[in-house]
């Protein structure tokens, strides 16, 4: 067998075809005219270095849209208004680009967009897979842009503008501006402060001192009123809600130090504390910014589910066909769905016969046959027939919409320990305020002229700043470290749970297995045929089938000549070789009297009603699965396998991985019940599943890890998303999470020890405010540097 994988998309090449493309003077084999066209397009535009830079081939894509009309729809004004913002002959749209795998893809897309006439700007975010493109409406249209993306082999989906303007983006912009104002303000005021301190020691003209104070005032004012505003609003919200947060003492310290400084400037009193104020605000703002960035690494889910549904649908009215945006679809419409397209709404099949893949909703990968009168659910994929369906419910009312709402709700329920942490925080805050008030009152009686300075020092020194940075800094570093290991953290809370978890549940299909069938065993039932012959006949027969199991039969080498090949949906494939009728498929389809199968999935090959061979099909295990389970065991985690599959299959997989606890034959609800019963016994559960199929189960677990790639990424609800083929990062994630929690504990201990030492000193008046601010900053710095050690965790 020669090099039989497609150079562009890595799919196996049918040996009967001979498509080749010349790249860098070498002839490379490709699988189809589509891949040939795409590869040539990439070469002819000088972008062949894409092939050197990409991390992995794009599996299974690379067929240009056979139907240009599909994209032309986007050129009409209605569609333009629905998906783009038009201003002065320039339009801007956000397009979700499915099928992106790596940075080389984003380079390819940006470069080819930039070369398109009429396109003025194109930016792609490789993390969210969103392309923001602006173009001149006179020169090109949205349809042209989408067609160009499809020609490159990607799957573009324009997003409606409201989903494109994400609130996180606005939050990030505001936070960046605040951070800049705080940092520039801090640098300037510190410079003036050095001048003022030097003046204290060496003597300074009073007019210059006053000038520097007023200049400091001018710079500090925007820092306090602009950069520190979130602290004041959040402190106020805490007061209103009767649960004072960390921001209350911060606000009091910042507000009173600022007010005291202004008063001192006006009355030309002895000292000002502008430097303490800006330093304080800067460190706090930086901490918040880092925390926000970690939080935003999550993937926007609101658009996720609409990505599953088609953007346009073909509506059939009185023998006329019209393409409309899916958003305009109404109950009662009759829609035409072509093979390979997803079902746009819940409804009833009117005409045609097909099978559908409902894996998205049920997790069941086996296609289900559907005929007239059967119901269809939105988001499932029409596999092999052209069908007409009547729409019953659309949008949020569909099964898909309900599922997404349910998992959304599960996601927003706050775990109890977070609420507990919040309550403890508000006690600390109240304690700080009480201490400050007691110290203030004492000094107001003992030495009224020092009371303000000492109270301020107490507030600054006890500022829970290191305490507030201790956790987010460590979590942000952990998020970055995990991302380097191809684990995307979308919910920081998961790290804490992962570190504490003692139970880990794995879903079977698509999680510990690859979701790709392979032939596990061949049993010859008729001795007159040998195994290679059976394999090659089976492969040749199955080459025309679209059933997922057919993928197990890789066509390799010369197959026999088959005539009259026919696919019987839900049964198998038949064809004749040398005048004999061969069949492959279910046992009753091939031969009535053959022995019944004893494994979950068996395919029979037979000739003229006699069974010849049995192929036991199994799902290939993911790389390093057993190793990962063993490592989890060393870490003290008990693994269990839960699946909707039959007992025997699941036990078999569990045995190969070394998992002892097995729950087979469970519906998603029963899986959720298992999780709940473990939770009721007081243990945290980590669930590892495959993205959306297990969405409700994943959402019900304390922490969830989903294995996903490509377009599925955006559709996943899990706390942590694992990109790639290996299971091994799961155990690494646990190790890093434990390391992170260790760092958090060190940080918290340090912050508390520092506060415990500094508080009495400040209360007795030994710490001036500037020293308090420096002490606080140094303490914060230690905490951040300690957190950065996490970047080296999990290296092996």
């Amino acid at each position: 067998m020669t090099d039989s994988a497609c150079f562009h998309c890595a799919l196996p090449i049918d040996p009967r075809d001979n498509f080749q493309v010349e790249i860098d003077g070498e002839l490379k084999p490709v699988c189809c005219p589509g891949c040939k066209a795409v590869a040539e397009l990439i070469r002819d535009t000088g972008m062949a270095s894409y092939y050197e830079q990409r991390e992995a081939p794009q599996p299974g894509i690379g067929r240009p849209a056979d139907d240009d009309a599909q994209w032309q729809v986007y050129d009409n004004d209605d569609m333009l208004a629905a998906f783009a913002e038009v201003r002065d002959g320039e339009a801007e749209a956000t397009v979700y680009v499915g099928g992106m795998y790596c940075a080389a893809c984003s380079w390819l897309i940006e470069t080819s967009m930039a070369r398109m006439p009429g396109v003025t700007n194109a930016d792609i975010n490789p993390v969210t897979h969103r392309l923001r493109v602006t173009w001149s409406t006179a020169k090109t249209g949205l349809g042209g842009i989408l067609a160009a993306l499809a020609d490159l082999g990607y799957d573009p989906q324009p997003l409606a503008p409201e989903s494109a303007a994400r609130p996180e983006l606005l939050e990030q912009r505001a936070a960046l501006k605040r951070l800049l104002v705080a940092s520039l303000g801090m640098m300037q005021v510190m410079m003036f402060a050095i001048g003022l301190y030097a003046g204290d020691f060496q003597g300074m003209e009073p007019s210059m001192q006053l000038f520097l104070r007023w200049v400091s005032f001018a710079v500090t004012t925007p820092v306090v009123f602009y950069a520190a505003r979130p602290f004041f609003t959040s402190a106020w919200r805490g007061i209103v809600a009767r649960s004072p947060g960390m921001d209350l003492p911060v606000s009091i310290a910042v507000g009173s130090a600022y007010a005291g400084s202004v008063w001192a400037t006006l009355t030309e009193a002895e000292a000002v504390w502008y430097d303490s104020v800006v330093m304080f605000v800067f460190f706090l703002t930086l901490g918040r910014f880092l925390e926000m960035r970690a939080r935003h690494r999550s993937i926007d889910r609101s658009v996720a589910l609409s990505n599953v549904l088609p953007n346009t649908v073909t509506v059939v009215t009185d023998e006329q066909r019209k393409t409309i945006p899916s958003s305009q679809l109404r109950a009662g419409d009759v829609v035409l769905v072509k093979p390979g397209d997803s079902i746009p709404a819940d409804g009833q099949l009117l005409e045609g016969k097909t099978s559908v893949d409902e894996a998205l909703l049920t997790g069941e990968a086996t296609p289900r046959p559907r005929g007239p009168g059967d119901s269809l659910v939105a988001g499932s994929i029409n596999l092999d027939g052209v069908i007409h369906m009547r729409v019953e419910t659309t949008g949020g009312d569909t099964t898909l919409g309900t599922i997404s709402r349910l998992s959304e709700r599960a996601r927003y329920a706050r775990p109890a320990y977070v609420q507990l942490a919040d309550r403890i925080a508000s006690y600390i805050v109240i304690a700080i305020l009480v201490v400050a008030a007691v110290v203030g009152t004492y000094w107001a009686i003992a030495a009224p002229e020092r009371a303000f300075v000492i109270t301020l020092s107490v507030l600054v020194v006890t500022c829970p700043c290191a305490l507030a940075l201790a956790t987010p800094a460590a979590f942000a570093a952990a998020g970055t470290r995990l991302a380097q290991l191809r684990l995307l953290v979308t919910d920081g809370n998961a790290i804490e749970i992962l570190a504490r978890a003692r139970r880990i549940l794995f879903d079977k299909t698509g999680t510990v297995t690859k979701g790709r069938p392979v032939i596990e065993r061949v049993e010859i039932l008729d001795e007159s045929y040998d195994e290679p012959t059976c394999r090659s006949i089976a492969a040749a027969l199955e080459s025309v089938s679209t059933h997922p199991i057919a993928r197990a039969f890789q066509a390799g080498g010369e197959g026999p000549d088959i005539s009259d090949q026919r696919v019987d949906i839900g049964q198998g494939v038949s064809g004749s070789i040398d005048g004999k009728e061969w069949r492959i498929g279910k046992v009753e389809y091939v031969a009535a009297e053959a022995a019944p199968a004893d494994t979950a999935a068996s395919v029979y090959l037979g000739v003229d009603g006699q069974a010849v061979a049995r192929f036991d099909i199994a799902d290939e295990l993911r790389e390093r699965g057993a190793e990962t389970i063993a490592r989890l065991g060393e870490l003290g985690l008990e693994a269990a396998l839960i699946s909707g599959d039959r007992e025997r299959t699941v036990r078999d997989v569990a045995a190969r991985l070394g998992i002892r606890e097995v729950h087979a034959d469970r519906t998603p609800e029963q899986k959720l019940d298992i999780i709940r019963s473990i939770q009721q016994s007081g243990e945290s559960v980590v669930m590892v599943g495959d993205g959306i199929n297990d969405a409700p189960v994943l959402a019900g677990a304390d922490a969830s890890i989903a294995l996903a790639h490509g377009a599925e990424l955006a559709q996943t609800n899990a706390d942590i998303i694992l990109v790639g083929e290996s299971l091994q990062p799961v155990s690494t994630a646990i190790e890093i999470s434990r390391g992170t929690l260790r760092v958090v504990h060190q940080n918290l201990t340090w912050a508390i020890v520092y506060n415990a030492l500094a508080l009495p000193l400040a209360a007795f008046g030994y710490v001036p405010p500037w020293a308090a601010a420096i002490g606080m900053s140094a303490s914060s710095l230690i905490v951040v540097l300690n957190a950065l050690r996490i970047n080296r965790f999990g290296a092996s």
Partner: protein, 55 residues
């Protein structure tokens, strides 16, 4: 030292200019993506298309 009375306000003016420029840049979306630019420098896009176009 009297020159400070001129230089410091001048510095503040420059500072205000820098803040304005940054706000404008943030508002026009130049800082929306903080991840890609780091990767972009390592991609070279100076490979020339073949001299003669076939087909």
């Amino acid at each position: 030292m009297n020159v400070l009375y001129v230089l410091i306000p001048l510095a503040l003016l420059l500072l205000a200019g820098a803040v304005w420029a940054f706000f404008w840049a943030v508002g026009s979306g130049q800082f929306d993506d903080l991840d890609t630019p780091a990767m972009r420098v390592i991609m070279d896009d100076d490979t020339k298309p073949p001299e003669t176009k076939n087909e």
